[in-house]
C-alpha cells in the first residue's frame, strides 16, 4: 500500500506485541518447573499434572461447562425470539420498555446485575446454585444474542419469507425451512458468544451462586487474589489453547466457504447459458 509506512508497521508490531505478549509469557511460565513463578527453573509439565489431580478444579470446570451449555442454549432461543420481535413485530404496547430491557443489560455494570438478581433470588426464597447461575447468565446473554441475531435479521431479504408463504408454507414452516437455515451462522455465533460470556463470568456468578456450586472463574479468582499461582497458569494455557484452536478453525472454515463461493460465482458468470 502506498501509505503503508514504517510508522504503521511499528504501531502494528508494538500493538500486537502488547496484546499478545502477556499471554505468551503466561503460557511460557506455565511450563516452569519452579514454584516461584518468576524464576525460570527449567521445563516441566508438573503443574498440568497437579491441575488434573485437583478434584476441586475439575468439579468447578464441570459446573462451569454445564452452566454455560444450559444458559447459552436457553439464551439463544430467547434471544432469537427477542430479535425477531425487535425487527419484525412492528409496533406494540410496551415496545420501548422491551427494547430498553434488551439493551440495558449490555451496559449495566456486572456488579449491579449480580446484586439485583441475588436480591430477587433471596426475595423469592430460591435456593442458590447451578440453577440460579443459569437463570442469571441466560438473562444477560440473551441480550447479546438478540443484538447479534437482530443485526442479521435486519438485512434479511423478507421476500424470501414471502416466497415461502406464497409457495404454501405456514408462517412457522417459513421460519423453520427458510429463515432459520439462512440466519443460522448468526444464531451460532450468538450461541458461542453466550457460551464464552458464561464461561468467563466471575462477578454475576459470585453473586448468584450458593455454597453448592463453584464455577471455574470463582475458583481462579480466589486462587489468584493473593498472587500468581503456577496451577492457574497451566489452566489459563489450556483455556487459551482451546479458544485459539476454536477461533482459528472457525475462521479457516468461513474463509474457505467464502473462497468457494467466489469461485462458484465466477464460474457462473463465465458459463452463462
Amino acid at each position: 500500500m502506498r501509505r503503508f509506512s514504517w510508522f504503521n508497521a511499528t504501531s502494528l508490531t508494538l500493538g500486537f506485541a502488547f496484546l499478545y505478549l502477556p499471554m505468551v509469557i503466561l503460557v511460557i511460565y506455565s511450563f516452569n518447573a519452579s514454584k516461584l513463578v518468576t524464576v525460570w527453573a527449567g521445563f516441566s509439565t508438573r503443574w498440568y499434572v497437579e491441575l488434573f489431580q485437583d478434584q476441586e478444579f475439575l468439579d468447578a470446570a464441570w459446573v462451569t461447562v454445564r452452566v454455560a451449555v444450559f444458559s447459552s442454549t436457553i439464551a439463544t432461543v430467547l434471544g432469537t425470539m427477542a430479535a425477531s420481535v425487535l425487527v419484525r413485530a412492528g409496533r406494540f404496547r410496551g415496545r420501548t420498555l422491551f427494547s430498553g430491557m434488551i439493551y440495558a443489560p449490555l451496559v449495566m455494570p456486572e456488579v449491579i446485575t449480580g446484586l439485583s438478581l441475588l436480591l430477587l433470588f433471596i426475595g423469592i426464597g430460591l435456593d442458590r446454585g447451578i440453577f440460579t447461575i443459569v437463570l442469571a447468565h441466560t438473562t444477560f446473554s440473551m441480550c447479546y444474542v438478540s443484538v447479534v441475531v437482530s443485526s442479521r435479521l435486519a438485512t434479511f431479504d423478507r421476500s424470501l419469507e414471502e416466497a415461502a408463504l406464497d409457495l404454501g408454507c405456514s408462517p412457522f414452516q417459513a421460519f423453520r425451512l427458510v429463515t432459520l437455515p439462512i440466519i443460522a451462522p448468526a444464531v451460532i455465533s450468538g450461541w458461542l458468544l453466550a457460551f464464552t460470556l458464561s464461561l468467563d463470568d466471575l462477578v454475576i456468578a459470585s453473586f448468584t451462586t450458593g455454597p453448592s456450586a463453584t464455577t471455574l472463574p470463582i475458583k481462579i479468582f480466589s486462587a489468584v487474589r493473593l498472587g500468581v499461582s503456577p496451577q492457574i497458569n497451566a489452566l489459563s494455557t489450556i483455556m487459551i489453547a482451546i479458544v485459539a484452536v476454536g477461533v482459528i478453525t472457525a475462521s479457516l472454515i468461513t474463509k474457505r466457504a467464502a473462497v468457494t463461493q467466489a469461485r462458484d460465482e465466477q464460474a457462473a458468470v463465465r458459463a452463462t447459458g
Partner: protein, 374 residues
C-alpha cells in the same frame, strides 16, 4: 378466414378470473390504491404499468395475499380472497429479487412449493423435471442459486412459481435485473411459456416497452388509479389522456382551442399560424382546452413545401439525433415549440439532404394524431 382473436374482455358472457371491486388500500394516511375496479380474464397476459409509487406493486401484493384491501373486495373465480392467507391461495408470485432460497439447490427450490402440499415423491420429482425442461435448466438442477447466472436465476424463479400450476401467476418486475439483450430474449420466452402453460399472468413493470411486447392488455396507472386499460396498440395509437400519451413512447403535444367543423375539428394553436385539422375518433368537447398529440414517426419532414397535405408546419432544424436505423429531427416551429419528426434511414447518412439550421416543412394527415381533452 375467421381466426378468433383472443379478446375475452369484449365478450359480455365471459366471467373474469379476477375482479377488483372498488378496492381502496391505505397505508396510514397515504392512499396507495384509490377506489379501483378492474377485471382480468383467464389466460390473459395482463400488464400493470406505471411509474414507481403508482400502486401497481400494492395491487400485486394484494393478489398474493401480503396486503389486505382497506375497502372493497378482490374476487378470484368469483370467490372473495380477502380472508385467505397467502399460503392457501392458488396464486403464485415471481419476486423482483427472485427470492431464491440460497441454501437450497435449483431442484429443491422448484420442489419447495410442491413438497408443501403433497407427500408423493414420484409426482414431485416428475413435476420438477418437467419444469426444469420447460425452463431449460435440467443441466443446473444440482447447483445452488449463487452458482448460476442472472438469467438462469430468473428462470429458476419462474419455474418455482409455475410448479404448483397456479390459476394466476404474478410477476413483479421479472426482467428488471437482466441486461437489455437478455431482457428482450426473455420477454419472448415468457410469452412462449405463458402460451404453453395457459396460466394467467399478471406482470408489474415500469418499462413500457416490456409491457407493450408481452401483454395482451395493459393497464396504465398513476397515483393509485387506473388511467387506461386497453390493448397495447390502442394504448399507443389512441391514448385517452395526455398522461398516457406522454408515458408511452415519444409524443409531440400541441395545445390549442378547438372548433367543430363538420366531421373535423379545427385546432387553433398559435396566433397567425394555419390551424391543425384532425378527425376525432369519438365526440370531443370543444369547450375545453384541447391537446393534439402526434407520434414523431407520423410527422413527415421535407425541405420543399408538400402541396397535398392539409396540416403543415414550418420550422427550423435545431438538432438531429442519429440512432442508426432512424433519425429524429428536432424542429422549432412558430412560437418556439419543438416538434420531433422521425424518419427511417433508408439511405446512407452521407446522402441525407436535411441538416442543421435548414428551413423545413412538417406535415401529417388528419387521422394520424389524436385530440385529448384536459
Amino acid at each position: 378466414m375467421s381466426q378468433t382473436v383472443f379478446a375475452p374482455w369484449e365478450n359480455p358472457e365471459e366471467k373474469p378470473l379476477i375482479e377488483f371491486r372498488n378496492v381502496t388500500k391505505r397505508f396510514g394516511s397515504f392512499t396507495a390504491i384509490d377506489d379501483l375496479s378492474l377485471d382480468i380474464y383467464a389466460r390473459e397476459f395482463f400488464a400493470l404499468l406505471g411509474p414507481s409509487g403508482c400502486g401497481k406493486t400494492t395491487m400485486m401484493r394484494m393478489l398474493a395475499g401480503f396486503e389486505n384491501a382497506t375497502e372493497g373486495q378482490i374476487l378470484l373465480s368469483g370467490q372473495n380472497i380477502g380472508p385467505i392467507p397467502p399460503n392457501r391461495r392458488a396464486v403464485n408470485m415471481m419476486f423482483q429479487s427472485y427470492a431464491l432460497f440460497p441454501h437450497l439447490s435449483v431442484w429443491e427450490n422448484i420442489a419447495f412449493g410442491l413438497k408443501r402440499e403433497s407427500k408423493d415423491k414420484e409426482a414431485i420429482s416428475a413435476r420438477v423435471e418437467e419444469m426444469l425442461r420447460l425452463t431449460r435448466l435440467t443441466k443446473f438442477a444440482k447447483r445452488k442459486p449463487h452458482q448460476i447466472s442472472g438469467g438462469q436465476r430468473q428462470r429458476v424463479a419462474l419455474a418455482r412459481s409455475l410448479a404448483k400450476a397456479p390459476k394466476l401467476l404474478l410477476l413483479d418486475e421479472p426482467l428488471g435485473a437482466l441486461d437489455r439483450k437478455l431482457r428482450e430474449e426473455t420477454q419472448f420466452e415468457l410469452m412462449d411459456i405463458q402460451e404453453k402453460t395457459g396460466t394467467t399472468f399478471v406482470i408489474v413493470t415500469h418499462d413500457q416497452e416490456e409491457a407493450m411486447t408481452v401483454a395482451s392488455r395493459v393497464a396504465v396507472m398513476d397515483e393509485g388509479k387506473l388511467i387506461q386499460v386497453a390493448t397495447p396498440d390502442v394504448i399507443y395509437e389512441a391514448p385517452n389522456s395526455v398522461y398516457v400519451a406522454d408515458f408511452i413512447g415519444d409524443v409531440n403535444l400541441i395545445e390549442g382551442r378547438g372548433t367543430t367543423e363538420g366531421e373535423r375539428i379545427r385546432l387553433d394553436w398559435a396566433e397567425g399560424q394555419p390551424p391543425i385539422w384532425a378527425t376525432p375518433r369519438g365526440p370531443v368537447d370543444t369547450d375545453r382546452a384541447l391537446t393534439f398529440a402526434i407520434r414523431p414517426e407520423k410527422v413527415s419532414i421535407a425541405k420543399d413545401k408538400p402541396e397535398d397535405r392539409r396540416n403543415l408546419l414550418e420550422g427550423e432544424v435545431i438538432d438531429i439525433a442519429y440512432l442508426g436505423n432512424i433519425s429524429t429531427y428536432h424542429v422549432k416551429i412558430a412560437g418556439g415549440q419543438i416538434i420531433k419528426a422521425q424518419t427511417a434511414n433508408t439511405r446512407r447518412l452521407a446522402n441525407r439532404d436535411i441538416t442543421w439550421e435548414d428551413r423545413v416543412w412538417l406535415s401529417f394527415t388528419e387521422t394520424s394524431g389524436v385530440l385529448l381533452e384536459h
